[in-house]
Symmetry: C2
Subunit: 146 residues, 2 copies
């Protein structure tokens, strides 16, 4: 049940952009450097993020990417679903599955629905701003230890 690198790295991209929010565009090169990830791979991942309208780009030298919305308006759920598709444990709970009219009265389906609801509740309750706050919390804590 581990997420693919798409969702995981995608969140890292968005987190870096959130830390940089309001400071102009940030290049993928810098993000890749800070997160120790392959820049060319991140290029792939940012395409859907742009298409969904979560980020915008500035081309050319000194260009890069920026969040479109404010960090407290972007949830972890939106980001992960953009890159991974719907967060469902089984296809049969997605809108329109034709095979799911079964003689077993589909009890398992009820379970998948509950699980899906649980997962989405969690990820939709966390925003990028929460992550930024976590960062400053951790930072302060670490400085206190010196």
């Amino acid at each position: 049940m581990i997420l693919s690198t798409k969702g995981r790295y995608g969140l890292k991209i968005m987190y870096e952009l959130a830390l940089n929010y309001g400071k102009g565009p940030m290049s993928l090169k810098e993000i890749a450097l800070r997160q120790q990830l392959s820049e060319t791979y991140l290029e792939q991942l940012i395409v859907p993020l742009k298409k969904t309208g979560l980020v915008t780009s500035v081309r050319g030298a000194q260009g890069g990417y920026e969040l479109i919305g404010k960090p407290d308006e972007i949830t972890v759920g939106e980001i992960i679903r953009t890159l991974e598709g719907p967060l469902a444990p089984s296809e049969c709970v997605l809108d329109d599955d034709p095979e799911c009219t079964r003689a077993e009265y589909c009890v398992t389906r009820l379970i998948w629905e509950r699980i899906m609801e649980g997962i989405n509740n969690v990820v939709d309750s966390i925003t990028l701003d929460d992550m930024v706050k976590d960062y400053y919390m951790l930072k302060q804590k670490k400085e206190g230890e010196k």
Copy 2:
């Protein structure tokens, strides 16, 4: 983020065994028939369920499988984790990941931990007995519609 068929079919196996609880062993053939699944594939899936001690087997003709514990003591979480491994969105939240001492203060890791906790809370709160009850509820409802 869709579960593999291991976890999904595995839960169906356990659900059938729960419906059959107390009535002697049930063969994979019958389970496969009722759930419209490949019997030989289910053979693979039941191995870990047996190894973990969730089911026991009776060999020979009229043999089959039975739940070891009572349906209200077996959670969906146990079953899925047995077949899918730990329900974590990232490896880095599993005990001992060595790579996770990072300069970013690992804010994303905090997020994965919260998500993992959320998922496990949901699946561990549902037992096989809940599914059996769901079955009788749905059945009654359907009969009322006639």
